[in-house]
């Protein structure tokens, strides 16, 4: 009897979903007819005819929309992976300071986490861009030509980063690091107190104990939280448009304005983000499996 009821409800839910889908597709067709565009991707090969300040591969306005989108993707990936790396390092340092014995570090790190987590990311990006970089003098830091920081961006060992890119990676890294720090802290406090007492009573240093005893046991609790922070980071990177960095979303936006191909563009955006996020998830799952195999043959 109970099983019948569940099946009945499931059928109703499926019917409702079909209706909703039908409604959306109907809407889409009506809109496509009204704008007289039709659904196709051949426009991708036409020249984009807009300039891009940042491109990892050669690009000129006479290149196609498809090429412009690829450039946008490379710009996004650059931001996502650099921020992913920086936010992890920063998050680990802050997370460990938060759980450590040093009272001053504890206060500073919890202050950092609170402030960063309580302010909107958009605001923080604006801050890093307009106050952090554009507000700088022409010659803010110039350390024997090895490291230059000014309103044009950052120059480091011959590597030159624009102010948009710099503000974006700093903003995203700082924002994400506060969440990663909490994930790290959660993982570490999930390890029983007895484990700390055990390694200490064996004469292991705090650093050694952390590396060989605590972190390996904290990782299974940390990895899932870290994965979701990485996915958030990838999605948050689309806020690049707010400070004029040409990521995939910003370029998509420009193309929609020029061509009116909103539906195709959103499909491209959705699919590519889906692929990226699946990649991140899979990578993290592989790491997780590797760790579990290596350490936890219970």
């Amino acid at each position: 009897m109970k099983g019948d009821k569940i099946i009945f409800f499931q059928i109703i839910i499926i019917l409702l979903l079909i209706c909703l889908f039908g409604f959306l597709i109907n809407n889409l067709i009506i809109n496509l007819i009204r704008t007289d565009l039709g659904f196709n991707f051949s426009w991708l090969l036409k020249p984009a005819s807009f300039a891009l300040a940042e491109h990892a591969l050669p690009y000129s306005p006479s290149d196609s929309y498809a090429w412009a989108l690829l450039i946008g993707w490379l710009n996004s990936l650059k931001v996502i992976f650099v921020s992913l790396f920086l936010s992890t390092i920063l998050g680990i340092i802050i997370g460990l300071s938060r759980t450590g014995n040093n009272v001053l570090l504890k206060i500073i790190s919890s202050f950092y986490i609170t402030i960063i987590r309580q302010t909107p990311l958009l605001l923080q990006l604006m801050f890093w861009y307009f106050v952090g970089f554009l507000g700088l003098k022409n010659n803010f830091i110039n350390f024997t030509n090895l490291l230059k920081i000014n309103n044009q961006g950052i120059e480091f060992l011959g590597l030159s980063l624009t102010s948009e890119f710099s503000a974006l990676i700093i903003g995203l890294s700082v924002f994400t690091s506060a969440f990663i720090a909490e994930v790290i802290r959660g993982g570490i406090i999930s390890v029983p107190k007895g484990q700390w007492e055990s390694f200490r009573s064996l004469g292991l240093s705090e650093r050694n104990g952390l590396i060989r005893v605590i972190i390996p046991q904290a990782l299974p609790a940390i990895i899932p939280g870290l994965t979701s922070q990485y996915l958030n980071l990838a999605k948050n990177s689309t806020l690049a448009i707010a400070i004029g960095y040409s990521d995939i979303y910003a370029i998509n936006d420009t193309i929609i304005n020029q061509t009116g191909r909103a539906i195709e563009c959103f499909i491209i955006l959705l699919l590519t983000f889906l692929i990226l996020n699946l990649l991140i998830t899979n990578l993290m799952e592989t790491i997780n499996k590797f760790i579990n195999k290596k350490n936890f043959l219970y």
Partner: protein, 247 residues
């Protein structure tokens, strides 16, 4: 006689008011076994944990193997003590992500910088002594409580300590598993290991200890030989405690 532990008037309170340790003094000579008894919450764990710096204290002085510590937490001295003093806990606290042998060799490899061959050879010797060498490649969760506690003892012995601390080593074990751990401890005592043992095991205390220290509310109520303590305890509170244990 060499004195291994000398505790002079130490006191400690966790929060203001209640004293977990109230002016405690004691002495343990080389090769001797001190058993600490007392009701739950009397400060036994707090006391034994001050010996290797797992717990700080507010006043007084402790001398372990000639290394003096006081209320100022001196990390370098405590580290020195920990390298020469082993500890065994009620909950075993083995490292669940490491094999039995890796549990034992972790400290020799990282603290004493011994070679792996050397550390593993000594680790296997210790497991043999504990009668559990067949479990060397297993993980802690695959062992019974009694076996895990014997691994914990082997782990504590791996640094060749001059003093062993036990905090209720059999309290978390099934009754039929208690003796396999007590037997190992008896053998250690016979071989001349200096030991401090917090326990409620009367027979072990009678047979093995040289001294019984009875605590209540953070104070040392009496220190006696086991003969006197179990037949003719000096203090009213000790007798009451023993009566309750018998029931």
């Amino acid at each position: 006689m060499n004195t291994i532990i000398k505790v002079k008037n130490i006191s400690k309170s966790y929060s203001r008011g209640l004293l977990a340790l109230d002016n405690v003094s004691l002495k343990v000579n080389q090769g001797k076994v001190l058993v600490i008894m007392g009701p739950s919450g009397s400060g036994k764990s707090t006391l034994i944990r001050t010996f290797n710096g797992l717990e700080t204290f507010d006043a007084g002085e402790i001398d372990i193997l000639g290394i003096k510590i006081n209320s100022n937490y001196d990390e370098r001295r405590i580290q020195k003590i920990r390298k020469r003093v082993g500890m065994v806990f009620q909950q075993f606290n083995l490292f669940p992500h490491l094999s039995i042998l890796d549990n034992i060799t972790l400290a020799p490899l990282n603290v004493q910088k011994r070679t792996r061959i050397d550390a593993e050879e000594f680790g296997m010797y210790l497991l043999n002594q504990m009668g559990i060498s067949m479990h060397a490649g297993k993980y802690p969760s695959q062992l019974s409580g009694g076996e895990q506690q014997r691994v914990a003892i082997a782990r504590a012995l791996a640094l060749k300590p001059e003093l062993l601390l036990f905090d209720e080593p059999t309290s978390a074990l099934d009754p039929e598993r208690i003796n396999e751990v007590l037997d190992v401890m008896r053998k250690l005592a016979q071989d001349g290991m200096t030991m401090v043992v917090v326990t409620h095991e009367i027979n072990f205390a009678k047979d093995v200890s040289d001294q019984i220290l009875f605590m209540d509310s953070g104070k040392v109520i009496e220190t006696s030989t086991p003969d006197i303590f179990f037949s003719n305890a000096k203090h009213e509170r000790s007798r009451k405690f023993l009566n309750q244990l018998d029931k």
